[in-house]
Amino acid sequence: MSNAPTITALPDGVLIAIAGDIDYSCTTALRGSIREELDKKPQRMIIDLQNVPYMDSSGVAVLVEALQAQTKGKRKLAVCCLQDKVKGIFEIARLDMVFKIFNSVDEAKEA
């Protein structure tokens, strides 16, 4: 089960670092945390998954909702630092071409 995400303000947005497995047991809380940041309409939202060893489709759904909200407002969303198992579900769900995925937080900040 993931812990509460760590929120860090960026000059042009917000960095959200998540830790722990993301499954249906924690997606309601995670969705709430991310929506709270989406409501502030950040120009750039970066979701850091380096400490997420596992994610199922309920976690992916939360990220898709965030992407849709940011895209609708013509704002940016990037995810970064995916571990292999998490990268795997993005590929299986064919979302690896939909999200902007970066290898590091710095790369995501510069994109």
Binding site: M1, Y24, D56, S58, V62, V64, A93, R94
Partner: protein, 149 residues
């Protein structure tokens, strides 16, 4: 439980609470290798079973926390190869098998990925009405493929 314990090596009855998904994942993660699957294949089966149980809890039981999911696991070694068979029995009253469908992935939507993932990952996915009780039985099979070693 309905199966012969000699046939099914591991049987679990799990309450319909998502906090126990991690327990199910841990069990599958250990058994996958014992059934001859590679670590990547085992990871995929872990995800598939997680998705299947989540679907039962979320859609079948509508998040009611006091229902049961029975999970039976055995190694298989037959004409199709070596691998794992997992059977999930639920007690969902309101779900018809015809309602369980994977969705088209061309449209970007947050939900409905679970069934798609099952079919992408597993070599065999079969839904049946339970022969012995109310509910649905899902049979999942995954075979080891040499090239993934």
């Amino acid at each position: 439980m309905i199966f012969d314990a000699n046939e099914y090596h591991v049987q679990m009855r799990v309450i319909s609470q998502p906090q126990y998904l991690c327990v199910i994942r841990s069990v599958i993660n250990v058994i996958g290798g014992k059934c001859g699957l590679s670590s990547t294949e085992t990871d995929h089966v872990v995800l598939a079973v997680d998705e299947a149980v989540t679907n039962v809890i979320r859609h079948g039981y509508k998040d009611e926390p006091d229902k049961e999911v029975d999970i039976s696991i055995r190694p298989i070694n037959d004409k199709d190869g070596q691998g794992i068979e997992i059977i999930l029995d639920d007690q969902c009253a309101d779900i018809k098998i015809e309602q369980i469908q994977k969705r088209d992935l061309s449209e970007l939507k947050p939900g409905g990925l679970g069934i798609h993932i099952l079919y992408r990952i597993m070599d065999h996915v079969q839904y049946d009405q339970r022969p012995d009780a109310q509910g649905i039985r899902l049979t999942l099979r995954k075979f080891h493929k040499q090239q993934q070693d």
